[in-house]
Symmetry: D2
Subunit: 417 residues, 4 copies
């Protein structure tokens, strides 16, 4: 229909972080308009972090647009340096990054440890993408190939997921902006200007190494200051256990207020296989967002199950558990003492203590899975590893896996004594 | 308990707008901790505006903290200029501003035009404040008096509501920040530095008049660019009509998914009198927030009532109505033609056309009710009206009431022809 | 030489205002490298304004680069809207804006009222451009034509000088940034995004009218808050009279420390004609910058002429004159009383009183010479005048010429009584 | 005179970095007004750095005000944490930090390696302070004691010079702001909020360790990106050799244009002893600023001495030398080859080659003289060393002395071959 063709889809979106984000093509516009993508408007990027940093309410929708904006800039920079990027590849890179988080559910970490235990968001992203590709008659094929690191021009894939990808560049910038943690600010613009190619690989130019160093530092800082903030961990652990309890109750026949999609996932143990074989599963998952979870929890504050209502009230009224965080394992007897106190204070059975006392480690929030190296383009044209170059700074800091041990329990329990 | 006394409630909150917000006293801390105040975390300051400006997800919680922060600054400035402000009055001004929006429900405008038609948020704020004052054994009495303009030192009340109050200063700054509409940035810091007193009245010093001018301009701009953005109005009108339809359905005996508090307000017509005489009413209202509304609407997208599900789907999938905005009244025959097309396209009865076509005016979003003047302290000590002073700029612009007429209807209806 | 060709002149310059400024071509790079352009590094954009706003030390060099940066952005926006702009025209627009201020001497206003009275910077800019065009073998011809509004595509000339030119957009943004007067911040990025063409004319799109309004307001505010700040005027008037006195002394045979170019202009009365006919004149003028003037004044603080040394000491030690500013003419007898007191206090002759008491008006700092209208592109494709459109705001404020009367004299003179 | 007493010296200064800077007392105001302090308006904080970062024109005047502003904030934070700081000590800390750089001459590094070889700015600062203390009748005594680390409350001295002093906090923030190197941005506000005392010592609270880490990283980055930028080093080396040549010429009887104070220091070899015993020496030094140096160099571009005029022209026209920077010593034969080419190209004698080829190392720009540790206040009240704490990051990076070897020579000399 000719009218559709002339309809102006080249919109500009206001963004407090970059000023403006351009919607560069009709396809990008249509992808954004799709309900699967619109639902990201209702999924906060940082889950419950806003309970500590009240500004951190930004969504995966906004992050995805932001990452696409940086992709546009990166492509312009690389083309300026004579990269051969076709129009199809450009669209591919843009739709690829736009959809990189499409498989996220609400409070992803929590969900993957409670509601949909057998699946992860990367798998779901692929399912969503294929589904959308059908809808758009194959227009997303190149984008999916680039997303899957299945395209000849590796640097395009690395711009979606790699050491200096536009995903990380945007989320660090955006999370730092909305939390107000100014120490996390990275020189996004400068890093992008320093990108270049060597063969098919994405590299950073030598004069940008201090920016790269700063980027790694900022990332590390954001982990400790924001992503692994112990009060945030406490809130997330509470959410996980609320959902676990709700599942337990539903499956043992109790009646529980829940939206239809939440009800479905509470009732049924869903595997990745179910997602793949029963199309309705994905459709139901696509209806699930922060609102289903939070609203149900609000209603559960009045539930007759004491454990459920206690946890829900504590979360909703922000009476968050204390969280002890340590580089060493938590003393066994300390944990046992806390558990005992909890059983006394709350009159719970031994088997339910686990809903009040969470001992574990944050290795699940793994932090620097350094799959590939950051490559630096030297002035003489040679390529070096960043780690070897930055001779002054012991870069191994950034690649070391850090495990922190944690113990969470109600603040009303006095730990010492 | 002595331990409570020593417990440190002097917290610092990260704020992307001002950097940090200090919690200056135990009372302020305890008010913030109260569930009534915590619920403001789940009520967005700008309702559905984020559908146009995706960053505008900030809450009334954050705004209230921000306004309190500016109140701290204003008090420091005035004391520096020898204002006599006692510790009790300081606490009063801080708690007063903190609670100035406590009566807001979710999507306030929409609610006041649908769910709780007989009441407004100012009345509810007073009810909440009295309730909290009981809880805090009268510690909020001075704050309530200042809020009610019932305290001898008028300038303190004017800092809560007046031409240059900390409420407006914060919301203009904050809304401008999170929408990314940089034109709305006002010189908050400078305006506060220019505050002074004349007798009991709050005034601005002469050298600040251009900042005041800019403040009025920015406010005007924010109205047209953000608060009365026609797509935002369209979304809000859709929300109003969704709630109206839901009410209609519930009251005529249909079953509708809803959280308990929403269910209550859908079923019963509640007057201010009910709020005052039945304490449970306020308690139920305090449980209602953005999540109840949005979650229910999400579920209603699958409802069998075609009108309800059409409107809900349109809102959730962001297929927002077209909104024609005009300074002149909309032509009667134009409206009729649109209505007729709607009846044909959707097969609805005449009586239900109003759920698809909204004609009205934004006088209800009235814009500059200039109750009191901005007073300027001249260098010679005299006081002048700002309007008379700013001889170069025709200030009447800012006080004129502007009525805009609007017509909203589904985009699938072609208007011309 | 092929090596030169491969030499990379595509530099990036750090700019605190925009982040980065790109040098887009070899010609632009070479123009910037030329000593005539490099001298702008030593001429502050805002003359003596830093005596009031200590951050305002930015130079005409930086402003010219900034305006060129905005020109790049404007061209990209217009091309996106299908403007036909050839590579030659692009280079022309870029070099044209780069050189638009090349004729400025140090403390332009002061100089044009003292040292080089018969000439103005626009004339000198043209002389410099022609001179550079010879040097670059005619490569600047298109740029000069565009600068002179002598090119078919009028909108390019309007981007250099017009109601929404990149000159103003940059200087308002930059001056506001470096003075720290946040009220002067304009939505540069948004205004540029709203630019379009109608025929050959530059227009702004309708949805940008509030940004245009804000731009005009900010400009007005910057005039009163910065450009016509009375302490800045006082300093500038003192500078004018220092140079007048120095001229008087030199021409009556006194010896005065001065750099060779300053000495030349102190000794000789130079007309525009001299600039045109004697090439060495322009060459000497090109050697004159802030450093010659200020350094000489510093040395003159020790000169035996009491008037000269008094004025120089007052300026260098920042004992700036009081400046009375008024919308009405200053009372004759008031001025006479001040003059008499000065004569007594300083023991000066009647004929020299004018070096201590400056009465006049700021009509010379004329402010809104609205040669052409701001044209707005309506949604229906029609063009309207901004002044007619902005129905709510009496736009005549912005076009009214405002004359302020001023009286400056030493602060040690008590005005009252 | 009573009128003076009532004169309002509580000014507010606009600052693009912090918004506003308050002048908190009459004494502070009077110190700022003194010609010795006003002269800092004419000494750029970063010397010739603006040749690379054109925004870096900010002065030592502005930096000193900024550091004083941070001192006000730090004192407020410490008092909030129950620090005992008397009014006299507050004034002392404020005047101490205000004057900490008062002894700097123009282009300090260059000067200390050419004009005033035997002295350094710390010694001169003390001389200036004593001189001012006489002028202000001893009002600066406490400030001087605090500055000299000669006051009982060590933390006050540490706020002036120590690992987390307000000097560094301001200059890193300010230099980063004006250069536009956003990577250098540190969380100044947060670090100040984290300051506390332990006994008499200044410490940072544990929750601020990532901010401290970031601060150290930013500092390191600013060194490599800005302070030791090789083009800046080249320019500074050129300046040193210009002044050396000028001295040589003057002392061998040549006539040279120079302002009186510059002439004095060119002619005479001045030792610290001279400064102490002959008061006029300091007075003359106080008249020397960026303007004397630059203006003279501009005039010397036309001098008949080929070496002097070549270097001056190169600096003024920004034809800066190439600078090779290396962590290894520069190869002897490479240097010799360059020297030989220079002798051929410029026809200079062996003894004068040193004016064209500078080989050396930047150990003189030494970088982290970690005299004292950063102490961290743990949650349990214990004090730890930052270096031991930050277990993840090898902090030794920051304390290692880095020596870089450099070789500068005219760009027209082709190095390879």
């Amino acid at each position: 229909m000719s009218q559709t063709g002339s309809y102006n889809k080249r919109k500009i979106v206001n963004d407090p972080v970059y000023g403006f984000i351009n919607i560069p093509s009709n396809l990008v516009f249509d992808v954004i308009e799709h309900p699967y993508f619109q639902r990201l408007r209702r999924i906060k990027q940082l889950g419950l972090t806003h309970l500590v940093y009240p500004g951190a309410l930004h969504t995966r929708f906004h992050h995805s647009l932001g990452a696409m904006h940086l992709m546009q800039e990166a492509i312009a920079v690389l083309r300026d340096k004579n990269a051969d990027i076709s129009a199809d590849e450009e669209t591919g890179a843009l739709t690829g990054i736009l959809l990189h988080d499409i498989g996220h559910g609400p409070f992803s970490h929590a969900l993957e440890h409670s509601l949909v235990q057998g699946t992860n968001h990367e798998d779901l992203s692929r399912l969503f993408m294929n589904c959308l590709n059908n809808h758009f008659n194959g227009a997303l094929t190149t984008g999916i190939r680039i997303f899957n690191h299945d395209h000849r021009k590796k640097f395009l894939s690395q711009l979606i997921s790699g050491q200096l990808d536009t995903d990380r560049l945007d989320y660090l910038t955006r999370d730092s902006f909305f939390t107000g943690v100014s120490e996390g600010v990275i020189g996004t613009q400068r890093i992008i200007k320093m990108l270049n190619m060597a063969g098919n690989e994405l590299v950073a130019e030598y004069k940008g190494i201090y920016s790269v160093e700063k980027f790694l530092m900022a990332r590390r800082l954001m982990y400790w200051q924001v992503y692994l903030h112990k009060t945030v961990i406490a809130a997330e652990m509470m959410l996980i256990h609320i959902l676990k309890r709700a599942k337990q109750l539903v499956r043992s026949g109790n009646s529980l207020f829940a939206t239809p999609p939440l009800n479905f996932f509470l009732k049924n143990e869903i595997s990745l296989n179910d997602f793949q074989s029963v199309p309705e599963t994905l459709e139901l998952f696509a209806k699930l967002d922060d609102f289903d979870i939070l609203t149900s929890i609000k209603v559960w504050t009045g539930h007759e199950d004491k454990i459920l209502s206690y946890l829900c009230n504590s979360l909703i009224q922000r009476k968050l558990f204390r969280c002890e965080l340590s580089t060493e394992t938590i003393d066994y007897f300390h944990v046992e003492r806390i558990k005992q106190k909890v059983r006394q204070a709350f009159g719970v059975e031994e088997e339910d203590t686990g809903f009040f006392v969470y001992a574990g480690s944050t290795s699940n929030y793994a932090y620097f899975p350094e799959e590939d190296e950051i490559k630096i383009l030297m002035k003489n044209g040679r390529i070096s590893d960043f780690a070897e170059l930055s001779d002054n700074l012991d870069i191994s800091v950034f690649s070391k896996k850090v495990t922190k041990h944690l113990l969470c329990y109600p603040k009303t329990i006095v730990s010492g004594g």
